[in-house]
Assembly symmetry: C3
């Protein structure tokens, strides 16, 4: 892959512009009410087509996908609560978080005693509206701030949720870049949440921008991007695409990549897959602080990708993980919580990860008995001094370790050098005829 | 195994009662003079038969057992030292530690200069009588406190050791509980010391009580308990039972389990045998402080069980190890040094260990491709919220890891959950038809 | 191997004498101008023949050795710089570091502007003369202290380097001690530097003394010592001796073993070769402070011995490593920087290393089922007490671990006992017929 990909430790010169573009994309998508099915999801994907020509796939309700069934499609026009004086005190048009996602339709007068059983608040975060769903139990509900609830009196209310729940489709978006090889890298992001920015508009827009960036580059791997509803979407996609899964050599779930926190990577179920080692290498060389955690079977769609019968090498790339920031799954996960520079930084790291995946190969030292004479090949300082340069160190490491068993990443890890310098050393040695790629 | 076994982290409701029973048993056995052979050993086993119907085995002196020969049988009626005025100044009937175990008979007048060569004291613990033996060198001796010795003058004494040493038998006790499987768990305790409580009346009574407890339960494994003289008894038992040793899948030597110190587990020679991992799991989840040490070839009868030609997975379960408490092998290892609650706590941990051994199996996820839908099986909260319960976590872990390679203990260790919750998750999944045991 | 080799933790009684002998040998060799070829190298080897009857090997210039060609031979008679008044201000006869090693001949008047391009100093160590070489680029130069250079004015100078560079030979020294086995231990030291004491007159004289010491002893392994020019010499030796390399089972590069710093061992490329474990064992038991570092492909001739197509188990034994002391490659690496006691200490450690290599074998416990009765074989205290001696511990460890898979070093490491006591235990058990060496 050619030069456009940034070195690990260099700031991408286009970062500021990319940060603004990513943020503006999020601003445009923020108001849409998304759920695991419905027109909000479709509308979101169509807006992303302005960035990358992804394809919309429609899977009918009732389709059996492994142990699950694609649910009915949910759409909603309006929803509100009026008090006894007919004033709208809660209105879906102000925040789409006000309605429990997948609420069944309802329109009637209701006593406070009954209504309050359908209200959800966060008493310890009294200004914020919680995000709640009920995909698999037919019910309805409203979410509101605790302060709003405290102002409600014991009187009669009129409630309306003008939703539909019936046969339709589950929609997902997919985009593939064909590389020279059929082996694939999978990038997956759940796209089923309404007005929540970090979780996961951030992942959706960064994935789209990454796809756009990679489209312009010559690539070895093929790259497959999916924008899917969480859980049921990943299960649906895996069920429908099972024959092709063996082509997936590496994968990442993108989530919560827009906040200002440090990066956190959650390893794949395998724990030491190449993608796990690549992400850790990038973060170790580019960040002063970051987190690495072992796989666990709760979190995002890595749950499905890493189920024992699928077991793909897919990790989860995040900044602050789900549940680890107070704004998580509340109205405070809004446009002020995510930052253009954080989005751009996430994109930068992903480009670095791709760069290593693309360049990581196993080479063979063609002059394995003693060191070759680097001097006459212009690969070594001619006047003997005390210290070699880092590139010379890398050249010696690549020569020493290229016995057919070690990849460039193995060499970078053993030498504690950055992948970039090791890769540069390998390229210099290739040009000198001292190295060849293994079959 | 059914409910009666306590959860790891729960105090057995019968603990207080068991503690008292264990202690009273020890009180009854304390005065008996035990050695590696003789009537004291037999009398001890017969008293234990009140708790558990163990069988006494008699092995004739002279029997060849691997590199060793069963020694002559030793018995003793009385022993004393009288001073020049005919006063008994040392008397075996006051403490059976006063005579060097296996002393040959002697009765004569003796000069101080000769006598003092046969006296053993502990100058740095001047109130305590040491415990000494001479199994394989024909000699005699007295043990006494250093204060006692300091009062002796240079005069003529009369000494008497009315012992017999001649052809007889080595006696050991054995008790087996037949489980549904022939694979066995071995519980071994050396029972050859005279009036010493922690080492090892504690192990003897806890083993008996454990046997009594397990007798009432449906069990998968068979359990074999042996009360044997140290070293020669273990060697004798192994030599006579060699053909059946391959049935032993797990084993523990019990020793020093009555003092108030923290638990200390010494691993088997293999180091990572299932019994090693189970004991460590139990202690890690039940104790705030405990010790784990690697195998070493000195200590108790694990020396024989873990000799290279035997190499059974047998560890040593202790509180304060041999030699690590000042009362060790002295008259101060008496009834005040051991505590009912310590004995009961040891029993509790052993029951937890048995519980895990019984329940630790490898299961297979029957719905391995993506997660199964837990909601419709009643295994999952239906209204999506932020945090799952610990049982839900355990369910996800069991599903994710049950690929046929991981036992429930493996899963508990990887997830850092307790074995009990992981086991409960497996049971719920079995009932839902999502799991089956591997062949 | 018999008693003369010191125990790990004992000071060799001859250390003081050896220290003086080693130091005097260095004093004699210090003034000689060595390079990678030439008469200085030959003269050095001939003086070492007074210690050990090594053989000089001559390899003609132009000989192809793997990727390299043996260079022309360099010799030098005199070199100086005269100022405008004809005063010799720099003179090779005062320090042979004044001339860049392998300088081509030159004799002419020269302007300051041109001259200063050929002068090398150390501005941050203004009293010291640097050591520089130019083996593979035909040039000339002078090295001098920064203070000397600061006194030079912009005037015309006369320079003379009376060197020859032409067809000749690369010389190296070799000495082999035949042991009972053909398997070899290789000791290699680069001998190509002029008046630099720690790097590497120290290695050269310690190697010679080690060879002298071992010559008097019955040995299992054969020992091969080589005194070679760095890099090109190791490559030459390996190329000419390739068929015999498979006999080399262990090896050490000796370098910088005369300074007062702590020992530092650099592991072989394999990382856990027997030599790596032996050196670490010796240092751990003999030193309170020492360093162990992983292999890296820069340093001394381990670069060649550990190249991927050679891959011998050769580590590098040093005190303060190359580049880690300020005097490195300067005139301050002189006779005041190295100490007789440091040289003797290095020799002591090497003798301990040889001792373990010689004695490290795998034995088989001939009585593997339970412990043998040590008492009747005189291997155990007969009167039972509390604590066994360290030798008894070692006996039990050797018996327990000698199942055919563990060497004495394995046993020493697992037991954390010193190799000497473990070896003594094995010898006692061999004499008792309880152990035999594996085939």
């Amino acid at each position: 892959m050619a030069g456009p990909l940034p070195e690990n430790n260099l700031k991408n010169p286009d970062s500021d512009r990319y940060g603004q573009e990513l943020y503006q994309l999020m601003v445009a998508l923020y108001p849409i009410c998304r759920s695991i099915t419905g027109d909000g999801f479709r509308q979101t994907l169509r807006q992303l087509q302005a960035v990358v020509p992804l394809t919309l796939h429609e899977v009918p309700s009732g389709t059996q996908v492994f142990d699950w069934t694609v649910p009915q499609e949910w759409n909603i026009r309006e929803a509100w609560i009026k008090n006894a004086r007919g004033e709208k005190i809660i209105d879906f048009s102000i925040s789409n978080l006000h309605v429990v996602n997948y609420s069944v339709p309802v329109h009637r007068k209701i006593r406070w005693a009954e209504l309050k059983e359908h209200l959800f608040t966060l008493p310890d975060k009294p200004d914020w509206i919680p995000y709640r769903t009920s995909y698999y139990k037919a019910t309805w509900g409203f979410c509101l701030s605790h302060h709003q609830q405290q102002q409600l009196r014991d009187e009669e209310y009129e409630i309306c949720i003008d939703s539909t729940l019936g046969p339709g489709h589950l929609t997902y978006g997919e985009f593939k870049i064909q590389g020279t090889a059929d082996e694939e890298v999978l990038i997956s992001c759940h796209s089923c949440h309404p007005s929540l920015c970090n979780d996961n508009l951030s992942g959706m827009v960064v994935a789209a921008k990454l796809a756009q960036q990679l489209s312009d580059l010559p690539l070895r791997y093929s790259y497959r991007f999916v924008w899917i509803p969480g859980t049921i979407g990943a299960i649906t996609w895996l069920a429908l695409n099972e024959p092709g899964l063996s082509r997936i050599k590496h994968g990442l779930v993108l989530s919560c990549v827009g906040d200002s926190g440090r990066f956190n990577y959650k390893r794949s179920r395998r724990g030491n897959a190449e993608i796990d080692r690549v992400v850790e290498h990038v973060l170790r060389h580019a960040e002063t602080d970051f987190g690495i955690s072992d796989f666990s079977p709760y979190g995002y769609d890595e749950r499905q990708y890493c189920s024992p019968g699928i077991d793909l090498p897919v990790g989860c790339f995040m900044r602050t993980p789900n549940g680890k920031y107070p704004q998580y799954h509340t109205s405070a996960d809004d446009l002020s919580f995510v930052k253009p520079e954080a989005l751009a930084g996430s994109l930068d790291r992903l480009l670095s990860i791709v760069r290593i995946l693309e360049k990581n190969r196993v080479y063979l030292n063609l002059n394995p008995k003693c060191e070759p004479q680097l001097g006459r090949r212009g690969l070594y300082r001619l006047m003997g001094g005390t210290n070699g340069s880092e590139l010379e160190e890398a050249i010696l490491w690549v020569l020493n370790q290229s016995d057919g068993a070690n990849s460039l990443l193995d060499i970078a890890e053993r030498s504690r050098l950055g992948f970039g310098i090791v890769c540069g050393a390998a390229e210099a040695l290739l040009q000198s005829g001292l190295l060849r790629e293994t079959a």
